[in-house]
Amino acid sequence: MVEFKDVSVTYSSGVDALNRVNLKINDGDFAFVVGPSGAGKSTLIKLVLKEIDATAGEVIVNGFNLRKLRRRKVPALRRTIGVVFQDFRLIPTMTVYENVAFVLRVIDAPAKYIRSRVPYVINLVGLADKAKSYPTELSGGEQQRVALARALVNDPKLIIADEPTGNIDPALSYEIVGLLKGINECGTTILMVTHEHELVRYFGGRIININKGSIAFDEVIGGENEDK
């Protein structure tokens, strides 16, 4: 669960990125966060990951009150969150398998569990035959699927997808969001930031529109795919 209570963020440059934002995303929700550039979407994600701290208000993520969370406890928070970035951020010197297994190594998972869990997740995103490939040998869509597998592998409560379709073909975008929807149906909360209104219209669901640091619109809409 993600909860923002009267959250404001003012950067040292004096820019007000968020202004008294109140927001609650329940466990199992799928929410699109939309809005123009500079509206505060990235700030929202940085807050959830505790990359930055709120100037005022309280942020609660998966039971962690981020205002009170000490620096050394940040890894514990991040282990409950999977992140998918627009630019994939895969480690180029590691194979697909290693990129995914790496997350479990970080959390000190048993070797036996790693050996069974990683192929399962890679298979889930449809890349079983690419496990030994390096990221540079994959297409954009495939790389994003690896990133998705990495976000998924330690079974996080929440997945944050920061414009996951920004760097891939439009046709593949639907496939990626489809995968996210599938993951969501298994109970994982998904928070997806996007610019692509067509995707939002197609899939529908909860839409949070941020503009000039405030929530302009927060409603559930029906998706075109449901109409079909």
Binding site: E51, L77, R78, I81, R89, V106, D108, A111
Partner: protein, 301 residues
């Protein structure tokens, strides 16, 4: 931390060296040159110290005993001098020994001339070496006040010069070593910083998936340590080669050194373990600490 995780991190450290081989090689070369410079400066300082020490050990204080005193008085004086804390060895040199030695060094003509001398005019003496040459003047003065001492003679001016040389050399070599160590640390930390900077993305990703700082640091730490140890091994080989070359020149071609009363240089075998341990410790520490420090900046995500 599980054993499998430790094994993984150590493996990652070794893998890192190969994956970033250009940077590793740059660090290796810089560390090798740095260790060589510091090592050779230290070895020079140690040997110069030994040479000066050798000269100092040979500096004697000569005590002339009053003529005509009894053997008992001579023994009493010897005991009194031996009791002084700074006195290392004391040797009695009789007037007969002195006479023989003087005649032996003479030319034939001089010997003929002295043949007619009816009396041995040379005094009995004590030849004394001291523990600490710095206190030689004080010891000389003390002995001068003893009963039955005719006079004392010591190379105080010479020893003062030696003491000054030793002090100045100590300061100079200390300053050179400190300066070199500082320069090395700066260069190495910059090289490792460049290496870490090249992998900041990797570190960044590790932070996002919830890696603890120690998990991120350990492979870099191992990588730095291994490169440092390799550089230490290289430096050890080169030092041995260079040192033995110089040592052989001094020992075989400049026998004059020992005639001058200067002790031989240390052989490389005398210093092998000290040099090996110092190089290994310095290489591993500088490598490991340098790398971990440079990683720190990128951990604040």
């Amino acid at each position: 931390m599980k054993i499998s995780s430790i094994r993984y991190l150590v493996h990652q450290g070794f893998k890192g060296i190969w994956k970033n081989r250009m940077m590793s090689f740059a660090s290796f070369c810089i560390m090798l040159v740095s260790l060589l410079m510091v090592g050779i400066s230290l070895l020079m300082a140690i040997n110069i110290n030994r040479i000066i020490g050798g000269i100092e050990d040979k500096s004697e204080l000569v005590v002339q005993i009053k003529d005509g005193i009894s053997q008992r008085d001579i023994d009493a004086l010897k005991d009194r001098i031996s009791a002084l804390p700074n006195v290392n060895t004391i040797e009695f040199y009789s007037k007969e020994q002195a006479w023989e030695s003087m005649v032996k060094d003479m030319t034939k003509e001089e010997q003929d001339l002295f043949h007619y001398a009816d009396d041995n005019f040379l005094p009995d003496t004590f030849r004394i070496t001291v523990h600490d040459i710095k206190d030689m003047t004080l010891t000389t003065t003390q002995i001068g006040t003893f009963e039955n001492v005719e006079s004392t003679r010591s190379p105080t001016e010479f020893t003062d010069v030696l003491i000054s040389i030793r002090r100045i050399l100590g300061i100079i070599s200390g300053a050179i070593v400190i300066a070199l160590v500082l320069v090395c640390l700066i260069i190495i930390s910059n090289t490792t910083r460049a290496s870490v900077f090249a992998r900041r993305k990797e570190i960044n990703i590790m932070k996002y998936v919830g890696a603890k700082n120690s998990f991120i640091r350990i492979p870099f730490f191992i990588e730095g340590m291994v490169v440092g140890l390799l550089a230490a091994a290289g430096a050890l080989g080169l030092t041995k080669f260079a040192y033995e070359g110089v040592y052989n020149i001094f020992n075989n071609d400049f026998k004059l050194w020992s005639v001058l009363g200067i002790n031989n240089l240390y052989s490389f075998n005398d210093l092998f373990w000290q040099v090996t341990i110092a190089y290994a410790a310095a290489g591993a520490l500088i490598g490991a600490i340098g790398t971990s420090f440079s990683t720190g900046k990128h951990l604040k995500v």
